[in-house]
């Protein structure tokens, strides 16, 4: 057998095997290192700080856990949140994240490593990303082989779609959830392949961990049953499937009910009913199979089939009946909004208002996945070629996740693993084909014909004829690419002649393709590094802008204001702000807040929205009623921070309108042309609103009395700035981003943030929606 390039022949297979596994270990540890290191931009560029909004709550809860122990944390009632309601934290969180870092903290202290709990929290996500890389390796190994596994691990280690949720300091549930997701799936595949109850049990235990860690566990709850159902429908039911699914479901469901926040949901809500239904179906099918092995009478088979169908139909109708009677809760809002995309906007503006819940435009896909996004369909096709049971899983996962990621930006996170796996399968198949040194044997016919083409270009006419003849003889290979594709796909190929006829000829063909792949991989690395360092590493508590000379300028208004609150106000001073900032105020300023990011009480949020969008006279009694001492406003007009409260204002109006449609009406906040303006032409309701007044209070003084320009909205503020009768300005941060207004005794901070114009696109997309302009519906008639 000839080879394209010399390969040493005097190495024993054992040596090859050992070296390969050593290299794999080295590669995996390097991948882990890269995964962790690329997530440290946030720490290097800024500092070791908790990011964003939700992580601040998780951090606060973890501090309680670390300081007072698990039982205290479990029973923790937080009176400062949702003032005056308070919040039972233990029963309303997914505790997995906090418990994980609490355990790590205790282990480190047991080993006499006095690490600060904050550093444990900051570095948890990078640490778990290394584990995710490993889990993805194991998963992909089941799909193809180790080399595809390594590629997949490398991809998931540095792909921005996952980094966006797991940089150092992004201490959120997703930080550990993706590892759990991948590992549960791996165990499921393993259980299915072997028919092993052991792996089913492990999958159930990790499923439990996932339930304890992230609300996205519903994805697993539906993916695995869907896979099982498709297998049954395709006639691929086997006892292995029965063993794997039954052991996973029976243990996993019981385990998931241990988490207080989930409670009895697994047996009472529609999201979980699919899993239950498939469980029942499998029992019936398995029983029918068993009976069939004992009796082979035709009549009996018919009877059996009829009864299975009857039971299935009966089960379906009883499910509908129970839903109708209210015994089974229908789909929850967040889940429902995934299917009926207009639902959220109509009925639950609080969900629609979060930019993580906005649909995804294509640049986000490309930004987060780069060349994987177009390699991934190729990988899916390769899965179809083999179509073993586990390949079906990847295919279903690919379809579901790409739909979900299209509907909600934040679900990009669930798409990322399958994209990495599928593209790794595609790329490693490509490399396998083109690195394989075996030279195929060319057909004698075509070789001589090829020779003749080379020798005499002029006499190509007869050789073409020869080619045609050869084509007719061989029939498959030269009817054009499509028939080739079909032939390749159906796998019938040209095997069987004895000679190896498939493969690559010559070194240059190999070289071109391999070089191209290497180049694309390198480009991918550069892309990921750039995206990570520029877009996803900002803590959004501290902002950075670039000075004209290129140096970095740190804008720290948020913390400035929060520390002001902490230092200058009594411990029990209640601060009112839009819900986005609730966790940060609680975490950094340690003051009670009216509403925060745990948006469970729509009415309470609407109350704040109403206060912000009404005139001072209306708002003041509301503030008094809630004992508000300070109102906090975020304003970015001075430095061009687009994620400020004026841009979120329409959502406050909308949410308030949902509860008080008589008093707050969204159209009143637009000009008569339907525009959202803040300058002279702004509507009177807009100008009277508390939010407007607080934001632009004394704004003109900065410009020496001339009308100031709002740099976010690029509009001039009215010459006569707003006046405040009931509230007073207490504190405004350096760049005016945060303002605190006490009502008579309140403070209002002007928080002003600025970010570089490029990065702001990416940074601000993560929080409450800022630039949602829906009024373009109305088309202007031309006159």
């Amino acid at each position: 057998m000839s080879t394209a390039y010399p390969i040493p022949s005097d190495i024993s297979p054992a040596t090859v095997k050992n070296t390969a596994s050593l290299l794999r270990i080295v590669a995996l540890s390097l991948i882990s290192g890269a995964a962790i290191a690329s997530r440290l931009f946030a720490v290097i560029n800024f500092e070791s700080i908790i990011h964003e909004f939700d992580p601040w709550f998780n951090y606060r809860a973890t501090r309680v856990l670390a300081a007072k122990g698990f039982y205290e944390f479990w029973n923790w009632f937080d009176p400062t949140a949702w003032y005056p309601l308070g919040r039972v934290v233990g029963g309303t969180v997914y505790p997995g994240l906090m418990v994980t870092s609490g355990v790590i903290y205790n282990i480190l202290h047991f080993l006499n490593l006095p690490v600060d709990i904050r550093n444990v929290c900051v570095l948890l996500a990078p640490g778990f990303s290394a584990l995710t890389a490993w889990a993805t390796y194991m998963f992909t190994k089941e799909m193809k082989d180790e080399s595809a596994g390594l590629l997949a691990a490398a991809f998931i280690g540095i792909v921005p779609g996952y980094i966006s949720r797991s940089v150092a300091g992004s201490y959120d549930n997703e930080a550990i959830a993706i590892f759990l997701l991948m590992f549960t799936f791996y165990c499921w595949i393993k259980a299915l392949k072997q028919g092993s109850a052991l792996f089913g049990t492990i999958a159930a235990v990790f499923y439990f961990y996932m339930v304890a860690a992230w609300g996205g566990y519903v994805f697993i709850t539906n993916m695995i049953p869907l896979h099982a159902l498709v297998l049954v429908l395709m006639g691929r039911f086997s006892d292995r499937l029965y063993v794997a699914y039954s052991s996973w479901y029976a243990i996993g469901t019981l385990a998931s009910m241990q988490v207080p926040f989930v409670g009895f949901q697994p047996v009472s809500t529609s999201e979980h009913m699919g899993a239950l239904g498939v469980f029942g179906l499998l029992q019936i099918v398995a029983f029918a199979q068993l009976v069939r092995t004992h009796v082979s009478s035709q009549q009996f088979q018919k009877l059996l089939f009829g009864s299975v169908v009857a039971i299935g139909v009966l089960g379906f109708f009883s499910f509908i009946f129970l839903t109708y009677k209210g015994k089974i809760a229908p789909w929850t809002g967040r889940f429902y909004s995934l299917w009926d995309t207009g639902y959220a906007k109509k009925y639950i503006p609080i969900i629609a208002s979060v930019s993580e819940h906005q649909p995804t435009a294509w640049p986000s896909f490309f930004m987060d996945l780069q060349f994987l996004i177009f390699l991934f369909p190729a990988g899916v096709v390769l899965c179809f070629r083999e179509l073993r049971d586990e390949h079906l899983f990847v295919i279903i996962y690919a379809v579901m996740a790409s739909y979900f990621a299209g509907v909600m930006v934040r679900l990009m996170l669930t798409l990322t693993p399958v994209v990495c796996v599928a593209s790794a399968v595609a790329l490693s198949t490509l490399l396998d084909t083109y690195i394989d040194p075996t030279e195929p044997v060319a057909d004698d016919d075509t070789r001589s014909e090829a020779d003749s083409t080379v020798t005499s270009n002029g006499s190509s006419a007869p050789s073409k004829k020869a080619k045609k003849a050869a084509a007719a003889a061989v029939s498959a290979p030269s009817k054009g690419p499509l028939s080739d594709l079909v032939a390749a796909a159906t796998g019938s190929a040209h095997a069987g002649t004895g000679n190896i006829t498939t493969g690559i000829f010559g070194l240059d063909s190999r070289g071109v393709v391999v070089l191209n792949v290497v180049f694309m991989l390198m480009f991918f690395v550069f892309h990921c590094t750039w995206v990570t360092s520029n877009a996803y590493s900002s803590p959004s508590v501290v902002l950075a802008s670039t000075n004209p000379d290129g140096s970095q300028h740190i804008i720290d208004d948020f913390r400035e204001a929060y520390y002001w609150l902490r230092q200058n106000t009594p411990q029990d001073a209640v601060v009112m702000s839009w819900w986005d900032y609730g966790y940060q105020i609680a975490g950094m300023a340690d003051r009670p807040t009216l509403v925060d990011n745990n948006t469970w009480n729509n009415t309470h949020i609407a109350t704040v929205g109403k206060a912000m969008s009404s005139s001072e006279e209306v708002a003041y009694p509301i503030l008094r009623k809630h004992d508000v001492d300070y109102v906090l406003v975020i304003f970015g007009g001075l430095i061009g921070y687009s994620g400020d409260d004026i841009n979120k204002f329409l959502w406050m109006v909308r949410i308030a309108q949902g509860v008080w449609p008589e008093e707050i009406q969204e159209p009143n906040y637009f000009t008569s042309q339907g525009e959202y303006r803040i300058d002279d032409r702004a509507s009177q309701t807009m100008k009277d609103s508390l939010m407007y007044k607080m934001s632009y209070y004394r704004f003109n003084e900065l410009f020496g009395g001339n009308p100031g320009t709002d740099r976010v909205r690029q509009q001039q503020v009215p010459k006569e700035g707003p006046t405040l009768d009931y509230l007073d300005e207490a504190f405004t941060s350096e760049n005016w981003i945060v303002s605190l207004f006490p009502s008579l005794s309140y403070l209002a901070p002007h928080h002003f943030f600025r970010s570089t114009s490029d990065a702001s696109n990416c940074i601000c997309s993560r929080n409450s929606d800022s630039d949602f302009v829906s009024m373009s519906l109305l088309v202007l008639p031309r006159w």
Binding site: K346, S672, A759
Partner: protein, 316 residues
């Protein structure tokens, strides 16, 4: 005939003292003439929205003349008439407490100017300014309908019901055509299934469906659906400005690019190794590698248009 009646009524209005009919009765007559909708002009508009009104009114401001080229106006008009007709069926006593009216731009441009309106359609709901139905909070300014839920009649009816004395008895007409189409389609599909079952059972037809679905979804199709973005921006401009925005046409272009790149990779993986002639194989290797490089460059440059700060580029 209708027109004559309308004209005579208008002339009657011009002579307010000649008949004893109260304005409310006049309006009721007008409404009856227009099948529930009063076709307004400048004078009747003033009458309908007079500061002494004891009735409430919903007014559609629109521009139906083809010259105005207002697509949404035409789209919305049937829904308006449907709701008005539903209101017309309530008992006469309550019926005349609330009026439906419409004002075309060409009938009363001065009203549009007075209201400072530059877009259409717009629905204003005027509460009663006097009498028992005057709002308790004293807010007499008209309420504008928010079209965020589309131009359908149902949300309009439920919105206006908040301002009418009793709920508007509007029910969606049962769309018989739709049900018939659906049942015929289902029947047809069931019949067809017998013939196409080889296709349904073939994994490659599923592969095509799967791949097309994921290509379309990852090109932002759901974004265009949810946000109702236009197909393109007009004037041959098909790339929406901004990183988090896109037009419908971009979905097609981007998914085509992705598909082409995927296809090139599949050719390299599946088809090229099957070639038994070294020359042809070499040609194909170079061809598909070239395709990948060039299309990839195009994709990158397209991305650079969307994200101005992106620092990398390939050959283009």
């Amino acid at each position: 005939m209708k027109f004559l009646l309308f004209a005579s009524l208008c002339s009657l209005l011009a002579l307010p003292s000649s008949f004893a009919a109260t304005p409310q009765e006049q309006l009721a007559l007008l409404a009856a003439a227009g099948n529930g909708v009063i076709k307004l002009n400048t004078e009747t508009y003033d009458l309908l929205t007079s500061p002494k009104r004891t009735w409430s009114a919903s007014i559609q401001l629109t521009a139906l003349d083809p010259r105005r080229r207002c697509g949404p106006c035409k789209e919305f008009n049937p829904a308006w008439h449907a709701v008005a007709r539903a209101w017309h069926n309530v008992p006469a006593a309550t019926k005349n407490e609330h009026f439906f009216a419409m004002l075309d731009f060409d009938e009363g441009p001065t009203v549009f100017q007075k209201l400072g309106i530059a877009s259409a359609p717009i629905v204003f709901n005027y509460p009663a300014a006097d009498g028992p139905r005057k709002p308790k909070n004293g807010n007499l300014s008209p309420v504008k309908y928010d079209f965020s839920e589309g131009f359908d009649a149902t949300p309009l009816a439920s919105f206006l019901s908040k301002y009418t004395p009793i709920d508007i008895p509007y029910k969606d007409p049962i769309d018989w055509m739709r049900w018939i189409t659906i049942s015929i389609a289902a029947l047809g599909a069931a019949l067809l299934l017998r013939f196409i079952s080889p296709i349904v059972q073939n994994k490659w037809s599923w592969a095509v469906v799967t791949v097309i679905t994921s290509l379309v979804m990852t090109s932002g199709y759901m974004f265009t659906r949810i946000r109702n973005v236009p197909f393109n921006g007009g004037n041959g401009n098909w790339i929406a400005a901004g990183y988090q925005n896109q037009f419908g046409q971009e979905v097609q272009v981007v998914s085509f690019i992705y598909g082409l790149l995927s296809f090139a990779f599949l050719m390299l993986i599946l088809v090229v190794p099957l070639q038994s002639s070294p020359q042809r194989q070499r040609l194909q290797v170079y061809l598909w590698t070239g395709v990948i490089m060039i299309i990839y460059s195009v994709l990158i440059s397209l991305f650079r248009v969307k994200n101005r700060g992106y620092p990398f580029k390939l050959f283009l």
